[in-house]
């Protein structure tokens, strides 16, 4: 079998990860997470009073996420301001994170999560979710678990983990399939599933298994970074 990966990684090998908690002193919680050249930062503000008032929920606090690329994070400058792509990713990020949070103790309030990509090399939403999950924990919010996220996929017929930009543009055979996932760190509950490309239904299981394994590694990196900030 020929290794199709440009950087010589094994098929289920993640790029080198980096994580740091407490990078934005103004925020109630903050973190950075990197997969190789993809770098995401996240800040949490809140719980705080939610405006406009009609959005308030008297039975629970709500989570609100914003994801976007910084203009210089990609080769072709990204026009600042929300795009349809970034609005969609913001929403799926919110859905990926909210199942671990318990905001019942904060009625009518909001927790704002701001996620920005400083440098993009594919897998930006998953790096953003990993950073945001750590930032929420850093903010001391009641959480059942951490969320770990990774973009799995397929290059031709090979299931791979953590595609970089070069791999996302792979064209041979069945081409590249991008399959970002997120799950609870310590239980079998998937909170994000998106897909672009080609994969037969019977092979989805392989991807789920690969993602579950990768998330264990991500969890260790997240935990280590969170412990470092506690010890400081």
């Amino acid at each position: 079998m020929i290794n199709k990966r440009g950087d010589g990684r094994g098929l289920t090998e993640l790029r080198p990860m980096m994580a740091k908690v407490g990078i934005i002193p103004n925020a109630d919680g903050s973190a950075m997470f990197a997969f190789g050249d993809t770098v995401a930062i996240a800040a949490v503000y809140g719980p705080k009073q939610l405006h406009p008032q009609h959005m308030q929920n008297p039975s629970t606090g709500i989570l609100r996420c914003v994801y976007d690329l910084l203009s210089f994070s990609v080769y072709d400058r990204k026009r600042p301001g929300p795009s349809r792509r970034s609005q969609e990713i913001s929403k799926v990020t919110e859905w990926a994170l909210s199942p671990v949070l318990d905001l019942k103790g904060f009625p009518n309030q909001v927790v704002d999560v701001q996620i920005y990509i400083i440098q993009a090399d594919a897998g930006t939403r998953t790096a953003g979710i990993n950073a945001a999950s750590m930032a929420l924990a850093h903010a001391g919010l009641p959480m059942k678990d951490l969320i770990c996220s990774v973009a799995c996929g397929k290059l031709d017929k090979e299931v791979v983990v953590d595609l970089d930009k070069h791999e996302e543009d792979f064209k041979e055979g069945e081409g590249a399939t991008d399959f970002p996932l997120a799950k609870f760190a310590t239980s079998d509950e998937f909170t994000l599933m998106q897909l672009d490309g080609k994969i037969p239904p019977e092979r989805v299981k392989e991807v789920i298994v690969a993602a579950t394994e990768a998330c264990k590694e991500i969890y260790e990196v997240q935990k280590k970074a969170l412990k470092e900030v506690v010890n400081e």
């Binding site: 919110e94 998937f190 998106q194 080609k198 239904p201």
Partner: protein, 270 residues
Amino acid sequence: MTMESTNLTINTLKKMFKEGKRFDGRKLDNFREIMVSYDVSNKAEGSARVKVGKTEVIAGVKLAPGTPYPDSLDKGNLMVSGDLLPLASPRFEAGPPGFTAIELPRLLDRAIRESHMIELDKLVIKEGEKVWTVIIDVYPLNDDGNLIDVACLAAVAALKKAKIPELDENGIIDYEKKSEKPLPLAEGILPTSISFFKLGDSIILDPTREEEEACEARITFGVSNWNGQRMINSCQKSKAATFSSEEIESMMKMLPGKFDDVNEKLKKFL
């Protein structure tokens, strides 16, 4: 934009789904009847109207000469857009697009584009300079749930009927000349959207608006045939409830059969 279901409705539906029952007597994994008709507008290059139960969506395909994207000089362009007009439901409001209105065309775009149904490389007018842009617009006329799956049927049906307009000597479309040149489509590829909805531990297909409103999560799959094999081309999970790997696996087992089923129903009208 959302009208929240009452706890009474949610609890009743949860209990009924557990027993495998639905208000309209369908099984949990049954689609409503599918009806397709054509020629919604004779100004469009192709158009279709799809009714699934009381949900009704029209789709129109327009073609316009345009410039290729710098990263695909030898290919035509595809654009999918749509609007949730307040005419279709008291739930839709005028004004800037809400999330559902953004998500719907994006999901259709991915399902259609990744299936390679449209042979974009055959839509070049002058390489590197001028190509056809295929624009699909979808509009729900009546929303009674499962809009994405229904809109996908409408878009695909409209594409099947689409013709490439004639150009005059200046390269401008001459609508007076009736074209019989069909849009180049790959043989046997019909991208189909299949959405699974979850309430409690139950998973249902093709919900009515009331059922959809009560559900806690949705996963939409864009599926097609590729080299004789069924392929998932796109997927998106929505809302905050989670899916276990066992649930994902059981959906994967159901998917090929449901895809064939919906495809057969559509083919009757093509």
